[in-house]
């Protein structure tokens, strides 16, 4: 069975069908209906994004003015009219020392984004220079059986994003490896189900913070001999344990609710236990398992921030917390940049899961 793979098919498969309309627009193959469709799929979201930014700008301005007025009033009552006038001038001049601390405007956030990128370029150049400088020394150290010297400078924003992604994937993998096998066993055996049910019901609603503390208590003792940094291990295990429940419950439900017809077929064909699980039960529960995995991945990404913050594990969560504690004049807008980055990465992760789900499961889901 050969099928040609076109751009249209690929984009639709990934739930990005509007991209092929975009292609038609440029190649001039657009019908009227397609055009209306294009307006709905592309122009309307763009307009709503612009509207959102506009409202944000207006809101941020009014908050800024309120904060500024309050500062001037306060200077007036505490220190007199001269100080109030000085404060007014200071704010108007844009001096960093007296800027009102409030919700940053879209422009400020964009500037911070650019400054974070600049910062990343500086740090990576620095890192490259360091590696170059220590290359010969490190080669010698390795030859002598000593540990090489590594770069220990501050991680850039991009480095922290990559760290966060690593933590999430490690946690997601852990969740997958725990939840799917247990889910299958629970779904297959009512005895195991009643043995595990209390466990699931009690631990499912436990908050990320408590999971972190629990994992911390255990891992700290286990790794008592090693003097390395255990924060990554603690945070990925906590992320995994927090997020695995959706997959566990969905897998168990999918496995236990396989269509009775398929079970009858398996019985009539006298399939062995192994064949029955892998040829009938698992394929039929794949859609539900994947729904679970999708929820797991988004929960993992969501709790990651809180857990990194607690575990002091480098990543976006720690970045947000450090910026908040830092209190520099552009800290607030850097936090908002992180918020958007987190949201966009979450969206992309969801799309990736959807694509994998479409590739492996038999009933092709529409993008939700």
């Amino acid at each position: 069975m050969k099928q040609s793979i076109t751009l249209g098919k690929v984009t639709k498969f990934m739930g990005l069908g509007f991209l092929s309309t975009l292609k038609d627009l440029f190649t001039g193959k657009l019908e009227k209906e397609d055009f209306i469709n294009f307006l709905r799929k592309v122009a309307v979201p763009l307009a709503s994004i612009l509207l959102f930014i506009g409202l944000w700008h207006v809101g941020a301005m009014s908050l800024y003015n309120r904060e500024a007025n309050f500062k001037i009033e306060k200077a007036l009552t505490d220190q007199g009219p001269a100080a109030a006038e000085a404060m007014r001038e200071c704010i108007a001049s844009g001096d960093i020392s007296c800027q009102p601390n409030t919700l940053p405007s879209p422009g400020q956030v964009w500037d911070s984004y650019k400054s974070l990128l600049r910062d990343h370029n500086i740090i990576s150049a620095d890192k490259a220079a360091f590696i170059e400088k220590t290359a010969t020394l490190n080669a010698k150290r390795i030859a002598e059986g000593k540990a090489p010297i590594t770069y220990t400078g501050r991680p850039s924003f991009i480095d922290q994003i990559i760290m966060s992604l690593k933590t999430v994937f490690a946690g997601f993998l852990l969740a997958l490896l725990i939840a799917i096998p247990i889910g299958i066993l629970i779904g297959l055996s009512p005895t195991l189900k009643s043995a595990f049910n209390w466990f699931i019901q009690i631990f499912k609603p436990v908050s990320p913070v408590v999971w972190y503390l629990l994992v911390f208590m255990i891992v700290k003792t286990i790794l008592i001999d090693s003097n390395g940094d255990s924060s990554f291990i603690i945070s990925f295990i906590s992320v995994g344990l927090c997020s695995m429940w959706a997959t566990l419950v969905n897998t168990a439900m999918g496995v236990s609710s396989v269509d009775k017809d398929y079970i009858n077929v398996a019985k009539v064909l006298k399939l062995g236990a192994f064949q029955k699980v892998f040829k009938v039960i698992l394929p039929s529960s794949l859609p539900l398992i994947f729904t679970g995995l999708k929820i797991t991945l988004s929960v993992a990404w969501m709790v990651l921030i809180a857990i990194e913050l607690l575990a002091q594990s480098p990543g976006l969560g720690l970045f947000v917390w450090e910026e908040f504690q830092n209190g520099a004049n552009d800290s607030n807008s850097k936090i908002i940049v992180a918020m958007f980055v987190i949201g966009i990465i979450g969206f992309l992760l969801d799309r990736i899961m959807l694509t994998i789900q479409n590739a492996v499961s038999f009933n092709k889901n529409e993008a939700i």
Binding site: Y262, L269, Q275, S284, F362
Partner: protein, 282 residues
Amino acid sequence: MAYLELNNVYKTYGQADHVTEVLSNINLSIEEGEFVAIVGFTGSGKTTLVNLINGLLEPTKGEVLFKGEPVFGTSHERGVIFQNYSLLPWLTVGQNIYMAVKEAFPKTSKLELNKLVAEYVEMVSLTPAINKRPKELSGGMRQRVAVARALAMKPEMIIMDEPLGALDALTRGNLQDEILNIWGKDKRTALLITNDVDEGIYMADRIIPLKPGPNATLGPEFKIDIERPRDKTEMNDNANFKETRNAIIEYLMDIGDERKSQAKEEFVLPDLSPKDFVNQFK
């Protein structure tokens, strides 16, 4: 001794206070090579009867004997064609059949099995669709796959549970002929469950009506003495056919009426009359 025998079979569902007796006192014997049809209303316990014979269910009382041995669980000797095709949607036509033959002939080589699959797909004339998934096929094609799957396992007896029930009339006729053709080749024992009297008369040697449940039981049998191969158009003028058909339908109608008259449940309407608001306020 008969090939398949059901002796005083009872089947009940539920426990204690909520027992529903679906089948009661079923006695049936089928000889080797015979084509028997069981005709009954929907909901009369036909599928339960089929599941007792193919081994998916066990009788509450009585015994089901296949070649003199009691039936415990399913067996490759009894092939089943289900009412709703029951193809696995994530496998292609070929894979669906391959899975069945691999279980039935575990010692055969992969090459041989593939040949067998191709042969049976050819038999139901689905060779062009061998790599398609059930979703891409029409209802008739799906049921042909199910037929091929059941037959490819080379069962000694073939049990069909309303195999054509969900198909349109034209496809139905074609598939009836196909099934008869295949059956005619090696004369396996066949049991057909259907709700269509004409289909039963056209295909079977013997028709047994199932009196509707609860407490469904088999009625008197009707022999069909029409020579094979049978022709649908000619059969319409056959006196024997008309007579048998009328007899069976009359019998089934009588049971239907009997059932209706037995239903003595009366619905008492509450004694209501509109309130006299007008006079109340005078």
